[in-house]
């Protein structure tokens, strides 16, 4: 498979910064401006959340952004239109992250086709199990060059990590702790041991560390083990408090990438 995601990792780039935000939050049409600002600020991958009524893997920050976005009237067809607009200017890989039910309702094949046509490069669906993925999703994703990313956590067995690695083309999302999403202050010893174990496993896919990345220091630590890191809740908090979304989004990406 070859798409903007595989290209970024193939380039050998270090400290890859992937930034998550929720489509339709804080306002219905802020999705496009945020993507443009993140690219200017130096982000390497953009993850756009598809809001869902029941986001079980998410902490309060992302739950709230989902709810506000849904109240703003966002839906999946609108998100695909926003991605089309983003693609007119933005070159970065774009990933859609959400829960499986809205994708099922949209239609799996139609989703893959429309997402790819809009300029999406990859998908993260945390509640999509591997067996269902291999049976129903992988063939249609492969046909349109959509990468699928699985999550792994500190409780994922080595055997299962290897299986996930084998069916992944793009990258693996290493959840930093046994937890839902949310910004935390710092990493503890067991987390660093887990990152180190992943590094030593020499997987065929690169991994990005996510959950609990909140600032320049945690980003730098995570990036020293994996190919880079993913930040979500901390950015949502910035957007929530912001009065100038474009300027603050750009500054946020820049601040994470700037060596402390």
């Amino acid at each position: 498979m070859k798409n903007r995601i595989t290209d970024v990792f193939a380039s050998g780039k270090k400290n890859i910064l992937s930034v998550y935000y929720t489509a339709g939050f804080p306002t219905l049409n802020s999705t496009v401006a945020i993507a443009e600002a993140l690219e200017k600020g130096g982000a390497d991958i953009i993850e756009i959340g598809i809001p869902y009524s029941d986001p079980v893997a998410d902490g309060p920050t992302i739950q709230e952004s989902n709810k506000i976005a849904l109240d703003n009237g966002i839906n999946l067809p609108m998100i695909l239109e926003q991605v089309k607009t983003i693609r007119k200017t933005v070159k970065l890989p774009i990933i859609l992250m959400g829960y499986v039910n809205p994708v099922i309702q949209y239609g799996i094949e139609k989703f893959a086709k429309d997402a790819s046509a809009a300029g999406v490069d990859g998908v993260i669906l945390p509640d999509l199990p591997m067996d269902a993925f291999l049976e129903e999703y992988k063939p249609v994703f492969d046909a349109v060059n959509l990468s699928n990313t699985f999550l792994i956590s500190p409780t994922t067995s080595e055997e299962r990590i290897r299986r996930i690695d084998a069916v992944t083309e793009g990258f693996i999302y290493a959840v930093s702790a046994s937890s839902i999403t949310g910004a935390k202050a710092d990493f503890a010893g067991p987390q660093l041991q887990y990152f180190d174990k992943l590094k030593q496993m020499k997987l065929k896919n690169p991994f990005l560390i996510g959950f609990g990345i909140s600032n320049n220091a945690t980003f730098a630590t995570a990036s020293s083990y994996g190919a880079g890191a993913i930040v979500g809740s901390a950015f949502i908090n910035v957007l929530k408090a912001s009065t100038n979304i474009s300027a603050d989004a750009q500054a946020f990406a820049t601040s994470l990438k700037t060596k402390a």
Partner: protein, 393 residues
């Protein structure tokens, strides 16, 4: 066997385990071990003894004479309302807490809507001396205050679910999040036949004691273990799953599931999942789900907090899909009338959930020699305030 779960965790096209990877080790541990644990002789001995001495099983199968006269048939009530804690829910919590101990877990979490499952969980945690946290929607806590206090008296911590619509589905979300955050020392006792595989099958097995007893009792009473009809209400569907379990392959037994139509199926205020829902994924399994065209889960409504759930268990979705069970929609009014009718004719005030099953009999025409069993899943004490507000008695 075509109505029970297959080796992949599916009932036809429904079921599975749609869970975040963070929950995979827990659910996988359960999946690989639950059958060995619950059919081990020592487990069964302890389970059966508690069901007898603590829960009060077997529950009676009672021939409701005056109700039978009214319908001109033979109506038996399976008296789950006489279980300790007032409903069938405790059959499952006893089973799961024994399982949790054998898995080496020290802490228990649960979700609850009306509070019946929360009370049943708090009860067995007190019995076993285990720490108990129950998630309950903030709105449900306000409408079911006595059950909140019952749980607290029993030593449980009741945590308000403040997300989403602050009712049962959100309490379930919060319990799942708690489990993600505490994966090693905690067991999640799901209260219905919902959730990722193996929960729907495991809970159905613990509740299957209901139909097991029905068969024995009918054999003794009428010399034939098979009724013509079994009626049960369905929110998530655990009492129905237990009442149907041992009749699934006996196609001559008509299985009837009563769903809550609230103010009417088309009123916009209803919980009639099969009438209004479409296939989708909620709380870890593929099932039939009330949702918008865009796949957002819709908040249901019923006068009965125990039926106020936007999905049904995946086995029920399958039984509906292949036509093995008949699903009927019962409005608030039909259920309340049936509850008052049973109170007047038999001296039994039923839970409003169970009143939906009673009301469903009105949608059928019985023969004089038919044998009809209604699973009276719970008693009405918890619903007194609703009965009083309803007022028409």
């Amino acid at each position: 066997m075509k109505y029970t779960v297959n080796e992949k965790g599916y009932y036809g096209k429904f079921g599975g385990a749609f869970i975040p990877e963070m929950l995979y080790p827990n659910v996988e541990e359960l999946r690989t071990r639950y059958l060995d644990i619950i059919y081990e002789a020592g487990f069964q001995k302890e389970f059966q003894k508690l069901l007898r001495d603590y829960v009060g099983r077997p529950t009676p199968l009672y021939l409701a004479k005056r109700l039978s006269e009214k319908y001109n048939t033979n109506i038996y009530l399976k008296r789950e309302d006489l279980c300790h804690t007032g409903a069938h829910k405790v059959n499952n919590t006893i089973g799961q807490i024994l399982l949790a101990r054998r898995l080496g877990k020290q802490k228990i979490i649960a979700e609850t809507g009306a509070g019946q499952h929360g009370v049943a969980t708090a009860t067995v945690c007190a019995l076993m001396g285990m720490e108990c946290v129950v998630y309950m929607g903030k709105i449900d806590m306000e409408r079911q205050r006595p059950n909140v206090e019952r749980m607290r008296i029993l030593g449980a911590t009741v945590v308000p679910a403040l997300s989403g619509s602050m009712t049962l589905k959100d309490a379930t979300n919060e319990a799942m999040r708690h489990w993600i955050n505490n994966p090693t020392d905690t067991h999640y006792i799901i209260g219905s036949v919902v959730g990722p595989h193996p929960y729907p099958d495991m809970v159905a097995r613990f509740q299957s004691v209901i139909s097991e007893e029905m068969k024995k009792q009918l054999q003794e009473e009428i010399g034939n273990p098979f009724p013509d009809y079994v009626f049960a209400c369905v929110g998530g569907g655990s009492n129905a799953a237990g009442a149907f379990y041992h009749f699934l392959n006996d196609e001559h037994v008509t299985l009837v599931a009563a769903e809550a139509a609230g103010h009417g199926v088309d009123s916009g205020e209803s919980a009639a999942t099969t009438a209004l829902g479409k296939p989708g994924v909620l709380h870890g399994s593929k099932t039939i789900l009330m949702q918008t065209d865009d796949g957002q889960v819709v908040e249901p409504y019923s006068i009965s907090a125990g039926l106020d759930y936007p999905g049904i268990g995946p086995q029920h979705a399958h039984l509906f899909d292949v036509g093995r069970a008949k699903f009927v929609s019962i409005t608030d009014e039909e259920a309340m009338n049936a509850g008052i009718e049973l109170s007047r004719s038999e001296g039994i005030i039923p839970a409003i959930e169970s009143a939906h099953a009673l009301a469903a009999m009105n949608k059928f025409t019985f023969e004089k020699d038919d044998v009809v069993v209604v699973n009276l899943s719970g008693r009405g004490d918890k619903d007194l305030e609703t009965y009083i507000r309803w007022g028409k008695y």
